[in-house]
Amino acid sequence: MRFKDVFSIIGPSMIGPSSSHTAGAVRLGRVARELLGEMPEEAEVVFYGSFAATYGGHGTDVAVVAGLLRFGTDDERIPDALLEAADAGMKATFRTGAGAAVHPNTLSVVLRAGERSCRMTGCSIGGGNIEVVEANGFDLRFTADYPTLIVFHGDRPGVLADMTRLLSEANVNIGYMDVDRKGRLGEAATAVETDGGIPSGVLAEIRRLPSVTGLSYIDLNGGDAT
């Protein structure tokens, strides 16, 4: 099911004017920011499809930047996000991309902070709901509706078993998983959606697993009243 609960239909509470082009874009920006794990110094945003045609009028550019600043979808500072980003030392650039997009409302983001960088492609599928389709070159699909763990690791026997064992020991239930690799025994990445939040101690243990090279934890609802 693309839409999983009643609040993906009634909600979110948001700043207008468009749930796809404004609220969904804020959430895509938030996911990219969590993937990087810190305030980006540079952000390059590419809009495709309907996003490319109308991002100016809907404030999609402003909205993505608001997400990069970790604003929520109903934060009344959203209209001023570009100024807030400049104050925070973030340089954001926008362009449109040609070619067939996976969905009419698609954007990709490349972020950099010091030596660290990340890239993400995602779609805004309606009503403020999103679907990420690519993270750091891996075909990972997830919605960020649930606390989501993204682990970058070597493609080795037992890595997933080690991860799921740690989650199981913390009594964290997995609702969905997606795994992709660049080649046999090469680089791999796993997305794990869980029903409840993952304690930071467990995240640290997963990060320390021998084949794990990186980890991001995305919990978009962690901070609000849900």
């Binding site: 693309r2 239909i9 948001m14 700043i15 207008g16 468009s18 749930s19 309907s50």
Partner: protein, 302 residues
């Protein structure tokens, strides 16, 4: 969720002797792992935001960010109160309140997407005006939102709720179906009547394209919210009177999917066709583009 179609939803309600909002609430709590009380409070808070948006939109004559629209809700409400208004005060209020919330949305104010921001006026228009008329409590209205959510959940997972995917039928159409079904339940309709209200409403918006002028959620989105609220009242009345959707509502939802999938790209929110590409629509888009580039040059001068 235990249901995937409106038929399954109504069957659960009928067999357990529960209104549909109760089925949705229970399934929501099971899905989220949070208590029903907590989910209820969250929805009730959303209803509070909707009422605030109605109030703000009715009071304001402020224009949208683009300056294209503004003050229509106030105008419509004043006219609706006249004895010679065609609709009558109650339906006129539903229309004006829907316009009000959509105007707040266009001016980057706070709204609740129901199911989307482009269609955020229909449900508050119907709900807030009906609450005033019938003296319903906020808790009753909160239940109504769970019922509307159950209907939207089925539409969204079997068809679509975004204009970019399925045209305006997917946004305004879904909102009208949700509002119509919820109103039928609030007025004491049984699960069967609720489902018929949805089907009746959806049939009236099949094929509606998404053609926003200059790509903004303003023209024609705002007035379509006003019309949508009135259509929802009509669909609820028809269903409660015993009018049936001969083509079952779940099948109508499949038609929405079929029509939306066949809709050309230019009519799915890209502003490349429809009203957006009329001579006047193009002129407005050009003027706004010029104004925004002048603004940027002005910024550089500072």
């Amino acid at each position: 969720m235990r249901f995937r179609t409106l038929n399954e939803l109504a069957a659960i309600g009928a067999s357990e002797g529960k209104p549909l909002f109760r089925v949705m609430l229970e399934d929501q709590a099971a899905e989220s792992g949070r208590t029903a009380e907590r989910e209820w409070e969250k929805m009730k808070a959303y209803y509070g935001i909707m009422k605030e948006a109605v109030k703000k939109g009715i009071a304001s004559e402020r224009g949208s960010r683009s300056g294209l629209i503004g003050g229509d809700a106030k105008r419509a409400l004043e006219y609706a109160r006249r004895p010679d208004a065609s609709l009558g005060g109650d339906a006129g209020a539903a229309m004006a309140y829907a316009l009000a919330v959509s105007e707040v949305n266009a001016s980057m104010g706070r709204i609740v997407a129901t199911p989307t921001a482009g269609s955020c006026g229909v449900i508050p228009g119907v709900f807030v005006s009906s609450q005033e008329r019938f003296g319903w409590t906020d808790d009753q209205m909160t239940g109504g939102l769970f019922c509307a959510g159950a209907i939207g959940y089925v539409i969204a997972n079997n068809s679509f709720i975004s204009g970019a995917e399925g045209g305006c039928q997917a946004e305004i159409g879904s909102a009208i179906g949700m509002a119509a079904g919820a109103l039928a339940e609030l007025k004491g309709g049984n699960p069967d009547q609720v489902v018929h209200a949805v089907g009746l409403a959806l049939k009236n918006t099949l094929g509606l394209i998404c053609d926003p002028v200059a790509g903004l959620v303003e023209i024609p989105c705002i007035v379509r919210n006003g019309f949508g609220a009135v259509n929802a009242l009509a669909a609820a009345d028809m269903a409660l009177a015993g009018v049936r959707s001969v083509i079952p509502s779940d099948e109508v939802i499949q038609v929405m999917l079929e029509v939306g999938s066949a809709m050309p790209d230019i009519h799915r929110e890209t502003a490349k066709g429809g009203l957006a590409q009329t001579p006047t629509g193009r002129k407005i888009a050009e003027q706004l583009a010029e104004a925004s580039s002048e603004l940027k040059e002005g910024d550089n001068d500072d």
